[in-house]
C-alpha cells in the first residue's frame, strides 16, 4: 500500500501558489515542502529512537544493580533531596509546556509569542541545570562522588547525618552492602550527567533558535526546525520523568 506522502508528485498539478511551491528553504532534492518537512520529522523521530537505545544501556545497568543491591540503592536514594528533584521535575514539565506553546506560536505565525515561549523554555532549562548544580555540589561536599574520596560514613553510620536520619531512620548498612552505594552514585551521576549533557546541547540550540526566531525565520511557514527541536526537548523531559521515578523515589517511607 503506497504511502501517500512518500510518493512525490511528478508534475505541479496544483495551480497558483507557484511561489509557495518553491520557497527558498526547499532543498533541491525534495519535490515539495510537505515531503521535506515529512522527511525531517521522520529523521528526528529516528534519531530519538537511537537516543532511547543509548539511554537503554544505562537503564539496564541500573535495573540489574538495583535488583542486586536494593538496600544500598535505598540508602543512596535517601541522600538525594526529593524537594529539589520534584522541583526539577516540575521545571522540566513546565518547560515542555512552554516549548509546545512555542510550536503553536510558530505554526500560527506569532513571532513575539514564539520568542517569549522559547525564552521561557531556555530560562526553565537553565533553572533545571542550576538546581542540578546545587545537588551535585551537595554530593561533592558529602563525598558521595565515586572515585573521588568516596565516603561510606553516611551509610554505615546514618545517624551522622541528622537531617537525613530524622526523615528515614535508616539502619546502618554492613560494609559489604555499604560499598555498593558507590555503584548507585555511579549510576546517578552517569544517568543524570548524560541527561544534563543533552540538556546543555539543547540549550545551545535553543539560544541559536531564539536569535533566529526574532528575525521571523520560524514564523513564515517554515516550522520544521521548531517542531523537531520540540521533539528533542520533550524527549529530554521524558527521560527525566523516568530518572526521577527510578533514582529519587525508590523508597521514601520510613
Amino acid at each position: 500500500m503506497p504511502d501517500n506522502s512518500a510518493i512525490a508528485h511528478g508534475s505541479p498539478e496544483n495551480s497558483g501558489d507557484a511561489h509557495d511551491e518553491h520557497p527558498s528553504y526547499l532543498r533541491h532534492h525534495f519535490n515539495s515542502v510537505e515531503q521535506q518537512a515529512d522527511a525531517a520529522g521522520f529523521a528526528m523521530w529516528l534519531f530519538l529512537v537511537t537516543e532511547v537505545m543509548f539511554f537503554g544501556g544505562l537503564f539496564t545497568a541500573y535495573l540489574i544493580y538495583r535488583n542486586w543491591y536494593y538496600a544500598a540503592f535505598v540508602a543512596g536514594s535517601h541522600q538525594l533531596n526529593v524537594k529539589w528533584g520534584t522541583l526539577n521535575t516540575l521545571v522540566l514539565i513546565v518547560s515542555s509546556f512552554t516549548m509546545a506553546m512555542g510550536v503553536w506560536c510558530s505554526q500560527t505565525r506569532r513571532r513575539s509569542g514564539l520568542v517569549l515561549c522559547l525564552t521561557l523554555t531556555f530560562l526553565l532549562g537553565l533553572g533545571f541545570l542550576g538546581i542540578k548544580t546545587i545537588e551535585y555540589r551537595e554530593k561533592i561536599e558529602k563525598h558521595h562522588v565515586p572515585g573521588f574520596h568516596y565516603s561510606l560514613q553516611s551509610f554505615m553510620d546514618p545517624q551522622s547525618e541528622p537531617e537525613v536520619y530524622s526523615e528515614y531512620h535508616d539502619k546502618p548498612l554492613p560494609l559489604d552492602m555499604a560499598v555498593h552505594t558507590e555503584l548507585y552514585f555511579s549510576l546517578y551521576f552517569l544517568m543524570t550527567g548524560m541527561h544534563a549533557l543533552h540538556m546543555i546541547i539543547g540549550l545551545g540550540i535553543l539560544a541559536f533558535m531564539i536569535l533566529r526566531a526574532r528575525t521571523g525565520a520560524y514564523t513564515s511557514g517554515h516550522t520544521t526546525f521548531v517542531l523537531n527541536f520540540g521533539l528533542y526537548w520533550h524527549f529530554i523531559d521524558i527521560v527525566w520523568i523516568y530518572l526521577f521515578a527510578l533514582l529519587y523515589l525508590i523508597s521514601r517511607h520510613a
Binding site: 512525490a8 522527511a39 544505562l58 555511579s186 549510576l187
Partner: protein, 557 residues
C-alpha cells in the same frame, strides 16, 4: 565461457557522456564538500580500500606468525595487538560500512528514482565521522596499539591492560555514529523519497536489504556506544560498574557489547545479500524467485537478530536458563537466511546462466556463505559451542560468512556496478581470474581452520602444538593466494578508469532504474523524474523497452 549477456555500445563511436557527476564540478573541495551521494560513495570507496589493505596487512602478519608453532616472529603481546587491530579495522572500518556506504549510497537514490538521499549533508558528515574514527584507529596503532581483542572483554580491558583501549574505544564510538547516520538516512530516504509508482513491493531487493540493515544500524549501534562510554569511565574513574571487587559484573559489558555486535554481523551481511539478489537475477535473466519471501526475510533477519546476542556468551557465566533460551532463539534466526539461499537457488533453476565476473563472485558467495551459515548453527547449539568456542572453528565460521560471504558480495557488486559508476568496463578475463584466485585462496586459508578448531587449537594464540603446523601452513599459503586475489582488482579497476571499454547505459541488460540512465550518471541522477510502472526484475518490460528503442532508432534513421 563465451556466452555472455554483456552488450556494449560500438566502441569506435561511443563516448563517456560529457556531463556527469564526476565532471560536473572540479577541484578537491568540490569533492570534500560535496552533498552528492554518488561522490560521497566514491570518497567512501577510496577510504574503505585503504583501511581494507591495512587490515589485510595485519592479517598477513598473523598468518606469518602462525607458520611456525612457536612465537618467533613477534612477541606475544605484539601478536595480541596485531589480531586486535585486524579485527577492529576490518569490522568497524571495512565490513560495517562497505556495501552500504559505497554501493548503498551510490545506488539507493537511483534505484528508487530520487535525486539524492533525504539528508545529503548528514551523509557527508557520516563520511567525516568515519574518517575521524579511522584516523584515530591508525593513531592507536602508531602509539602502541591495543591488545584486548576487538571484543574489549572486561575486566581485561578495564583493569589489566595498559594499552590504548580508550582511543580505540573512541575510534569505534565515532565510527558508530557514522553508521547510525547512514542507516537513519537510508530509512528516511526509502520511506519518503520513492518515485511515483515505486511501491514497496516494486523496490529492488537490494533496497529491502539495506532497509533491514539500516534498522539494525539505528537500533543496535547506540548500545555499543554506551558500552564504550562505560568502559572509558571504568578505566579512568573506576566507577565499579564492571568491577567484581566493587560489586559490578563484567558480564554486563558483554551483554551491552554483544547486543550491538550480533546485529552488527547482520548489518554486515544483509547489504551483501542485497547485492546477490541483483546479480543472481541479472545473470540468470530471471526474476528473483519468491520476491516477497526474500524481502520479508531481510526484515526478519533484522528483527530476530536482536534476540540472540548471548550466544556469544555461552561459556562466560550467564545462567544455564539463559543459555537455553538464547540457543533456541539462535535456531530461529538461521531460518530467514536459509530462505534466501533457497530462493536464490530457485532463481537459478531454468534461468539462462552466464558466468561474468559478478556471477562468479555470486556463486562463490552461495557456496561459502552456506557453509559459514551452517557452521553458525553448530555454534548456536550450546552443547557443541562449549567445545568449539574460542577455537579456530569460530574464526573459520566468521571468516566464511564475512569474507567468503560478505567480501565476495562486495567485490561482485563493485564489478557489477563499476560500469554504472565510472562509465567503463573492467577487463573481463583478468577479473574472472581474480575471482577464481580469490575463491581458491579463500578455501585454502579458512577451510583448514575448521579442522584446527575441532582438533582444539585455540584462537588468539601466537603459538600452538606442533601437530597443528601442517594445517596452519596450508592456511598461510592460502592467505598469500587470497592476497593476490584482492590485489588484482585494485590494479585492473584503476587501469579500467582510463583504458576500459565504454560501458553505455546498461551493459548487463539489467532491470532497475539505475540502468535506465547514463553511465556515469548525472548529478541529479535523472533528467526527468522517472515513473515506475512495472514490477521489479521485469525482463519482459526491459525487452519491450529495447524493442521500442530499436523502432525509434530505425524510424529516426
Amino acid at each position: 565461457m563465451s556466452a555472455t549477456i554483456v552488450s556494449l555500445p560500438d566502441q569506435s563511436t561511443a563516448r563517456i557522456p560529457k556531463v556527469n557527476y564526476i565532471t560536473k564540478e572540479n577541484g578537491i573541495l568540490s569533492w570534500l564538500l560535496t552533498s552528492d551521494h554518488k561522490r560521497i560513495a566514491i570518497l567512501y570507496l577510496i577510504s574503505l580500500t585503504f583501511f581494507f589493505f591495512i587490515g589485510g596487512a595485519l592479517a598477513g602478519l598473523i598468518r606469518l606468525e602462525l607458520l611456525t608453532p612457536q612465537t618467533d616472529l613477534m612477541a606475544t603481546d605484539t601478536y595480541n595487538k596485531v589480531f586486535t587491530m585486524h579485527g577492529v579495522i576490518m569490522i568497524f572500518f571495512f565490513l560495517v560500512p562497505s556495501v552500504p556506504a559505497t554501493l548503498g549510497n551510490f545506488l539507493i537514490p537511483m534505484m528508487i528514482g530520487a535525486k539524492d538521499l533525504a539528508l545529503p549533508k548528514i551523509n557527508l558528515l557520516s563520511w567525516y565521522l568515519y574518517m575521524a574514527g579511522g584516523i584515530l584507529a591508525i593513531y592507536t596503532m602508531a602509539t602502541g596499539g591495543v591488545d584486548t581483542g576487538w571484543t574489549f572483554t572486561t575486566p581485561l580491558s578495564t583493569h589489566y591492560v595498559n594499552t590504548n583501549v580508550l582511543t580505540t574505544g573512541l575510534a569505534a564510538f565515532v565510527a558508530g555514529f557514522s553508521s547510525i547516520f547512514t542507516g537513519l538516512n537510508f530509512i528516511v530516504t526509502i520511506h519518503k523519497m520513492r518515485a511515483p509508482g515505486m511501491t514497496w513491493f516494486r523496490l529492488p531487493l537490494f533496497v529491502w536489504a539495506h532497509y533491514a540493515a539500516s534498522i539494525l544500524m539505528v537500533l543496535a549501534t547506540p548500545v555499543v556506544a554506551i558500552a564504550i562510554v562505560l568502559i572509558a569511565l571504568e578505566r579512568t574513574i573506576g566507577i565499579g560498574i564492571f568491577d567484581p571487587t566493587k560489586g559490578g559484573d563484567p558480564l554486563l559489558f558483554q551483554h551491552l557489547f554483544w547486543f550491538y555486535s550480533h546485529p552488527a554481523v547482520y548489518i554486515m551481511i544483509l547489504p551483501g545479500m542485497g547485492v546477490i539478489s541483483e546479480t543472481i537475477s541479472t545473470f540468470s535473466r530471471k526474476r528473483v524467485f519468491g520476491y516477497t519471501a526474500v524481502a520479508f526475510s531481510s526484515v526478519a533477519i533484522a528483527v530476530f537478530g536482536f534476540f540472540v546476542w548471548a550466544h556469544h556468551m555461552f561459556i562466560m557465566g550467564i545462567s544455564n536458563y539463559a543459555v537455553l533460551v538464547f540457543s533456541l532463539l539462535t535456531m530461529l534466526v538461521a531460518v530467514p537466511s536459509a530462505i534466501k539461499i533457497f530462493n536464490w537457488t530457485f532463481t537459478l533453476y531454468k534461468g539462462s546462466i552466464t558466468f561474468e565476473t559478478p556471477m562468479l563472485y555470486t556463486f562463490g558467495f552461495m557456496g561459502l556463505f552456506t557453509i559459514g551459515g551452517l557452521t553458525g548453527v553448530f555454534l548456536g547449539t550450546s552443547g557443541t559451542d562449549i567445545h568449539l568456542t574460542e577455537t579456530y572453528f569460530i574464526v573459520a565460521h566468521f571468516h566464511f560468512v564475512m569474507v567468503g560471504g560478505m567480501l565476495m558480495a562486495f567485490l561482485g557488486g563493485l564489478h557489477f556496478w563499476w560500469p554504472k559508476m565510472t562509465g567503463r568496463m573492467y577487463p573481463e578475463k583478468i577479473s574472472q581470474l581474480a575471482a577464481v584466485v580469490t575463491f581458491i585462496g579463500f578455501v585454502f586459508t579458512f577451510f583448514p581452520q575448521f579442522i584446527l578448531g575441532t582438533l582444539g587449537m585455540p584462537r588468539r594464540y601466537a603459538s600452538y602444538p606442533p601437530e597443528f603446523q601442517i594445517l596452519n601452513v596450508f592456511s598461510t599459503a592460502g592467505a598469500t593466494i587470497l592476497g593476490v586475489g584482492y590485489l588484482l582488482p585494485v590494479l585492473y579497476l584503476v587501469w579500467s578508469l582510463k583504458y576500459g571499454e565504454i560501458a553505455g547505459d546498461n551493459p548487463w541488460q539489467a532491470t532497475g532504474l539505475e540502468w535506465q540512465t547514463q553511465s556515469p550518471p548525472l548529478t541529479e541522477n535523472f533528467a526527468e523524474m522517472p515513473v515506475m510502472d512495472h514490477e521489479a526484475y521485469d525482463y519482459e518490460w526491459l525487452e519491450a523497452q529495447n524493442q521500442k528503442r530499436q523502432k525509434e532508432v530505425i524510424s529516426a534513421g
